[in-house]
Amino acid sequence: MILGQLAPAGGRLEVLGEPPHRGNPSIGYVPQGSVFDPELSIRGRDFVGLGVDGHRWGVRLGGRAKANADVSASLEAVGASDYADRPLGSLSGGEQQRLLLGQALVGRPRLLVMDEPLSHLDVRNQIAIVQLISEVARARGLTVLLIAHDVNLLLPHIDLVLYIAHGRSAIGKPSEIITSERLTEIYSSPVEVLTDSRGRVFVVGLEEEVSHPHA
């Protein structure tokens, strides 16, 4: 809906002060489950370049130097310069995710929408990507809307959390929402929020939710 691909069933939606429309240049997007075909033979650099003008008709005629500079800057920002000239299909999941992020950032958006960018990564890469997103967002004053199943990795970085489960939702500051009581209420199954000796917060208990699903 934010991307303008679906119309809301009811109510009114405004994105960055205007009605949602497809191809909004102020939004950078990383779609869900983007794993490229191993045979896909296109350079990461060309892929990020598609974020600049891939939606325009014809071939790139003018503005080549500026486009190349924008692409290089974006690759630098996500730390993907070293493998930007290798085929996309031959890269690891973490490398592909960085290039997807680079592609989303190249148009200098104000809002970054990421649909489960962590779901197919190993824990080390998940932490690295979250760190990267957080750094870029703070450096550029960017709003990030990130959809994830596991909140734990994100907890140190998020300002606002929206929980959606069993047709119920709750939105607010993590310190208000992520408490044992509130989460237990939302999921209608016992959830515990723990704090370790270094002050880090963990959410546990949703495992039971999976093994004993509520009808």
């Binding site: 991307l3 691909q5 191809g23 983007s34 296109i42 974020g51 891939g54």
Partner: protein
């Protein structure tokens, strides 16, 4: 038919190769039918090499193959109706191509659906051949190509169709590349992915119709798929890959024509063999090339 007869007499008394390369080249262009063959072959190779890149990128090789076979039924049907086979070919490939395009690139059962339609249309083709007696030569030409029987008018038509396909492909180049790499992303960026998919298959249908003249419906892979498949193993830059595909398609066509001129065997055989053995050679040399690449990288790191 008349031109085919000329071709047959020429083939039966294959010209001998001299040791003078200039004489040989001059002899190659001595006959008008060879000049036409080179002209049409060049146009078709450029179109096939260019569109082949997107066929590979979109993993639509089977769709491309199926298009030509479905076109066969259209061509034989046209002959039964007393119309030029090119029109039947074009009509069938266009309609089926745009239908395949509308099905979308992600549909899982797409290849099964295409295969089922393909089998039925080939059956139709057989029926049409049997309805038109004495048609075997024409059917043979459609199946395996008839590049030595191309008239000046055919060359002109091929040129027009070739220009149309290249211009259309250039016009949709960037969004087509985008939606071929990541359809979800392109769609979110406002690229009309389904319309592009249909447009691409329509362009492919025209390209297939052109290429059928050179290699026939059965051998279309050699010009549309093989050159691009080789190109993407060498480079992952889209523009370079397209150029490489065009150059390879041109080389296969020109060399195939030249060799066939000095031999009693059909042109299609040489074009497809050149394409096949180049592909095999490239795949077999890959372990060697990657080892050399690694060594160069290590040397660079050390130096």
């Amino acid at each position: 038919m008349r031109e085919l007869a000329i071709h047959l007499t020429v083939s039966n008394t294959s010209p001998a190769l001299s040791w003078n390369i200039f004489d040989d080249l001059a002899a190659l262009f001595h006959y008008e039918f060879m000049v036409h063959a080179f002209e049409a072959g060049t146009i078709v190779a450029i179109v096939a090499g260019a569109i082949g890149y997107f066929v590979i990128l979109r993993a639509s090789a089977f769709a491309a193959h199926a298009l030509s076979h479905i076109g066969f039924a259209g061509a034989t049907g046209a002959v039964v109706l007393g119309v030029s086979p090119v029109f039947g070919l074009l009509a069938f490939t266009l309609v089926s191509g745009m239908t395949i395009g509308a099905l979308g690139n992600r549909l899982r059962g797409r290849d099964v659906t295409i295969g089922i339609v393909l089998a039925w249309t080939l059956g139709l083709g057989v029926l049409f051949i049997s309805l038109y007696r004495g048609y075997a030569t024409e059917a043979y030409a459609l199946l395996f190509g008839e590049i030595l029987g191309i008239s000046a008018t055919d060359v002109a038509i091929t040129l027009v169709a070739g220009v149309v396909t290249v211009v259309a492909l250039t016009a949709i180049y960037r969004p087509l590349l985008f939606s071929s790499v990541d359809e979800d992303l392109a769609s979110a960026k406002g690229v009309p992915v389904t319309a592009l998919s249909i447009a691409f298959m329509a362009i492919l249908a025209v390209a297939v119709t052109e290429a059928v003249q050179v290699v026939g419906v059965l051998l279309i892979f050699a010009l549309i798929v093989t050159p691009a498949a080789i190109a993407v193993r060498f480079t992952s830059r889209p523009s370079i890959a397209i150029l490489t595909g065009i150059v390879l398609a041109l080389l296969f066509t020109w060399l195939g024509l030249a060799i066939a001129y000095y031999s009693p065997h059909p042109v299609s055989f040489f074009i497809t063999s050149l394409a096949f053995f180049t592909y095999v050679g490239v795949r077999m040399s890959e372990p060697l090339r990657s080892r050399l690449g690694r060594r160069a990288a290590i040397a660079q790191a050390a130096g």
